[in-house]
Symmetry: C2
């Protein structure tokens, strides 16, 4: 494998000394970039793009060609795993993802397979290899998956949901059935992430988009416990380096202390929690990734720079901070604005690593 | 005025001794009730129902006729105030509320009037009087308003929003303009709530549905500060009794300590914060209202009873707790389920007030 030319991101995740705070953006390969929209149009549908390793590689590298980002993230969808479990993923225009065969009964759960990452999900693994080759050591590549709870919400609801009424009814009335489902999803996620690492992912991130919809005790039992199980099953070293793992529960600011005890290396933090408070909550046991409000990118470059300064100051001195937005970049952002953010992070953060 | 027969709710809000924990449900007059759907069909549109004091009274009392609730809440919409400020509220099927004339410029803000509650909003005040008369002292009547920030989000975005991109762009780049808008909305909300109290509302509640979309410093500056301004301007005594005020920021669990310092009497708490933690955060300075996950009402009556027991135990002994859901009751709940919840609250809470 080629020598990594910029390992600032990996070092920050492990709280090792760095010269500046590394930065990447959730959903950095996305619709706000005209070059992404062009590739997407060439590919056909969103899933056609995900399933084409060459084109997935192309969009993964586009933001790196435009901005001096410190990490790349695999271009894919969080629902590839349930799709590979046989649920029949499809996207309807303007309504988001759906499954043809949602999971509702014990029989549905029992018949779910643990997908072979090098079988039904080989297109993802091929994308990882292709991207890793194309990166040629520029920056590390992040692999990712949805969390077991988040994937299960889509699987039981049959798509996106406002209230999570079906999976929560299952949680309250058939907790054993939901646990059985979550066990299978956690096993699938673990093998999926390990296969990504085997193909060249240098860090992994687990996106728990919907854990924040739970009461605290339910979060611990039905979301956090299964993320912990995944973390415990992950390959943590490859190519002679540690492979850090990042957990991110959107709206999970109140639970950062619990999350820090799972054995993960870093936590994603959304913008509703101050990083100074977050750092106190995790007692410097893990690194923190975040947390500028994505809407800041609608502001002027001058104002963006002020907000970057504020976020850097809230984390304070020392390693252990990866700058990011608190959620994915939105499609209508002017591509000049992230440039202002990234430049400000690289410039202003040096004072915190003197 | 008729003697109040059940003042448990008001006493709990003021942390005075009670025999049991009072209970009501956000959106208790709503689509889950067949009798509500019948009145709504009779009225025509949703706003026709809001603007008809007799029918608004009818739906306000329906849940009280069905369940032994400890409070009634005015049936109305949070967007009556911006509508009265001239923005032209309309509802499109399946897409929620919109404004014909959103607020975008300094000129838009300058020309906004502070509406006369006994003028354009007289239909709300007439509903308050009508309901108060029809209640005939059964339970107290809660008046309400949206928070200044929450109303401003609809006013600037022109309706509901996923990202709040327009108002947040204003917040970052034109904070003085947004402050001027919030001042006007806060003045309008204050006079609107005081008029409700003058017409007979015995407690008030401020719904900050979207405060939780803000970073902590922005929340304090653009949402909490204006709720505090409203609280400071409210009539706090009427008919020889205190008129308690409740603040509720959805997804505001991290900020309960700050909210408790506004001078309000009680805080609404959603289900993502444990009431034991919430009680510690507010140091028993205010009462707490909540916080069962509304999805619990999809569970069996036995399971609902267990969750009621858990919520009561998390608050613990002593007055200062008003039982409620952590958000509005959802339209597809079976009306038998709230009956199980309310019975369990009344029965199981007596042990905490011995």
């Amino acid at each position: 494998m080629t020598q990594l030319q910029n390992d600032t991101f990996l070092r920050a995740l492990l709280r090792e000394p760095v010269a500046y705070t590394p930065v990447w953006m959730m959903r950095q390969a996305g619709r706000y970039l005209p070059e992404y929209r062009a590739t997407r149009a060439k590919a056909g549908s969103f899933m056609d793009l995900c399933k084409n390793p060459e084109l997935a590689c192309e969009v993964t590298l586009q933001p790196l060609d435009r901005y001096p980002l410190d990490a790349a993230i695999l271009f894919s969808d969080i629902l590839t795993v349930p799709d590979a479990m046989g649920l029949g993923l499809y996207f309807s225009e303007g309504e988001g993802p759906h499954f043809e065969r949602p999971v509702r009964t014990a029989a549905d759960v029992e018949q779910l397979p643990i997908p072979d990452p090098e079988g039904e999900l080989k297109y993802v693994m091929d994308a990882v290899s292709t991207i890793r080759g194309a990166l040629n050591g520029r920056v590390p590549l992040i692999g990712f998956s949805g969390s077991p709870w988040t994937l299960a919400t889509y699987m039981v609801e049959g798509g996106g949901s406002k209230n999570f009424s079906k999976i929560k009814a299952m949680m309250f009335d058939q907790p054993a059935l939901l646990h059985r489902l979550l066990e299978k999803v956690a096993a699938s996620v673990t093998s999926y992430l390990n296969a990504q690492v085997a193909r060249g992912a240098q860090a992994t991130m687990i996106f728990d988009t919907w854990g924040g919809s739970l009461a605290p005790a339910n979060y611990r039992e039905f979301s956090l416990a299964y993320m912990q199980r995944v973390v415990e099953g992950l390959t943590r070293e490859a190519e002679g380096r540690k492979v850090p793992v990042i957990l991110f529960t959107k709206n999970g600011g109140q639970w950062l202390g619990d999350m820090a005890k799972t054995g993960c290396d870093a936590l994603g933090v959304d913008w509703t929690t101050d990083l100074a408070d977050a750092r106190r909550m995790v007692a410097d046991r893990v690194a923190l990734q975040g947390n500028m409000d994505p809407c800041t990118l609608y502001a002027s470059p001058e104002r963006i720079r002020e907000e970057v300064a504020r976020v850097l100051a809230s984390y304070g001195p020392g390693s252990g901070h990866v700058f990011n937005l608190g959620h994915g970049i939105t499609p209508d952002v002017d591509p000049e604005r992230p440039a202002a953010m990234i430049a400000a992070v690289h410039e202003l953060s040096r004072a915190y690593h003197a």
